[in-house]
């Protein structure tokens, strides 16, 4: 059976032989006509008539895309609840998180500190056992050791064995990844060269700088030519030069079919490198979508002053971000030109002064802040 992705504003959702979880999300934004079309497409998909289903399901933001035979990662309603041993208090690190990462994409997982990103990644790799839900890697149950065979992983705050040399470490992790002695002997010099450590292979790891350790960690993750690369804060604590080196290495993977899953809080890096992002906040999925779609939304920034309190509530209803700089001074962003004009009317009717109106496109940072604030407000 072939797998399809229903994309709504670039948001991938799983559809196998029929529209499943993605449909609900897409339907929420669709008008009545689209609803009807979805039903037709659903029937066609069930019959196996992909071409007709595709025809029915393409409008504006919504499209049906063939994404290959499988997903690199699938998480279905993953939950992790930690219980304190003595008091029995429960803390939900991850709540009901469903996420699908298509094969071959560069996917960024974003979220503020303590959002549950690392716990989520560890659940995918079975280092943390989920309280409920399932995780699959290329269609295989993630809790099985063989499911991790096509995975290369670079953990956050890694502690590589300092008693080993760079080449020795690659040899050890290569063996654990299933490579034979001869395969490792051929692969290690290749990788050391790729990460720019060809002259450091015989040197003990304890003499490596932070940047060198990160590059070595990347080499370790790549040793068995994985189909999925999971990187947890790969540039954390690395200087700008080291970051660029890591980015260059990752860019070389583009087009090789390797799925790259990056867990990071560095938004600019994710924005420049990833195709898709998901934003996690307080253990829940706040937003996911294609980076280009998320940041493409045009907006308008209005600066006003002497805005009375009474107008604030009205403005907050439309605008996505409002910054009160004090003494009635406002900076607010709205999504459409119509909304901008309405906001200006409200400000002027309330006796406020419009200082400036600027057209601007949102950055991933804006999207991130909006998503996390919305979650907090909810």
């Amino acid at each position: 059976m072939r797998d399809f992705v229903l994309c709504w504003r670039g948001c991938p959702a799983l559809c196998i032989g029929g529209i499943t979880c993605g449909l609900t999300q897409a339907k929420a934004a669709a008008n009545d006509d689209k609803d009807q079309a979805f039903s037709i497409a659903h029937v066609e998909l069930q019959r196996g008539n992909i071409a007709l289903a595709k025809e029915q399901i393409v409008w504006g933001d919504v499209s049906l895309e063939y994404m290959g035979t499988e997903y690199a990662l699938e998480a279905e309603s993953l939950c992790k609840v930690y219980r304190s041993r003595w008091r029995g208090r429960e803390i939900a690190a991850v709540s009901n998180l469903t996420l699908h990462v298509p094969e071959g994409v560069k996917f960024g997982l974003l979220g503020p500190n303590g959002a549950g990103k690392t716990t989520f990644v560890k659940m995918l790799l079975s280092a943390v056992i989920p309280t409920s839900g399932t995780a699959r890697i290329f269609g295989r149950d993630a809790s099985l050791p063989e499911a991790r065979l096509p995975v290369g992983y670079l953990p956050e705050n890694h502690r590589f064995p300092t008693y080993l040399s760079g080449a020795g470490m690659l040899n050890f992790y290569g063996a654990l990844s299933g490579l034979s002695q001869s395969e490792r002997q051929a692969r290690i010099p290749e990788l050391l060269k790729l990460v720019g450590l060809e002259n450091w292979g015989d040197v003990r790891i304890k003499k490596y700088s932070k940047g060198m350790l990160q590059r070595l960690g990347l080499a370790q993750a790549l040793i068995h030519r994985p189909r999925l690369l999971i990187l947890d804060e790969p540039t954390d604590g690395v200087d700008p030069v080291g970051r660029r080196d890591i980015r260059d290495i990752l860019n070389r993977l583009t087009g090789t079919g390797v799925t790259v899953f990056i867990n990071s809080h560095l938004l600019s890096e994710v924005e420049s490198f990833c195709d898709y992002v998901a934003i996690v906040n307080r253990g829940e999925l706040a937003l996911q979508g294609e980076v280009s779609s998320l940041v493409a939304g045009q907006g308008y920034a209005i600066t006003a002053s002497r805005v009375p309190e009474s107008a604030t509530a009205t403005l907050q209803a439309w605008s996505s971000v409002i910054q009160n700089a004090g003494s009635g001074h406002f900076e607010l962003r709205v999504a459409t030109l119509e909304a901008a004009n309405e906001a200006i009317d409200v400000i002027r009717q309330a006796g406020g002064l419009v200082e400036s109106v600027k057209s601007e496109s949102s950055s991933l940072e804006d999207v991130f802040i909006q998503a996390t604030r919305r979650e907090q407000a909810a």
């Binding site: 499911a147 991790r148 502690r159 299933g178 395969e183």
Partner: protein, 282 residues
Amino acid sequence: MTATSGVSNGRILLALIEDTFQEARARWLFWGLFALSTLLVLLFLFVLKIDLVEGAVSLFGIESTTRTVDIHRFVITSYSWVSVVLYIWGTFLAIFASSGLIPSVLEPGRISLLLSKPVSRPILLLGRYLGNLAIVGANHVYLICSIWLVIGIKTGIWEGRFLLAIATSLFIFAVLLCVVVLVGVISESAALSVMVPVALMLISTILGQRQIVVRLLSSEWSRELWQAFYWIVPKVYDLAGAMRQMIVYDREVDWFTPVWTSAVFGVAALSAALYIFKRRDF
């Protein structure tokens, strides 16, 4: 080269054992263990002088006795002394040296990377256990075989039963190492991983005096409690006694009971460690 097929557990175990050897090599405690063994071998090789014709034995060039000694008796006494030293102090030092090897692998950032590999958790822990056992086994073989060779060459007396000390010492270490692993997995503390098995060694010595103690205890339930504890705890004291009887007097001794009861204890401790390790979040 792409990893598509399953990974053989044998290859993984070998890699883990080799890694344990490399970590042990980087730790001074293991060098200390081998250095002490070497010191003991050198003592027999250079310091101890045995005159086969006169039957005289001298230490540091000073004759320990003015009268003729029975060389065979001297050799057996040496065997007894070395085997008991290895059994008690060797095991203690081996536990001390091994205690950090389990918590070190559980360090955050290290364990999460190991768990991301296509390796089952029990194999990961067993690899570490077997690596530890192999290191201590190598030390025991090195010490006992070297002394056996030195004494054999110097005296021409080749008593094979001395080699039994390797098996006995390694067996009791294997049992106590299961406790080290269990405590390490639960507490991640190297200090506690030493304290618990050493305490077990001491308790076993006390419980081993059951013939005397049972007579001193007044109530039936306290006698039964003592007996119950005796059967549960590994028989460190009893095995030492059996080994000595065998090496010194070449007597038939009851090996079976202390061996199987200790083995059951070790298997139970290791199974508990594997169970806890399999269910833990890292």
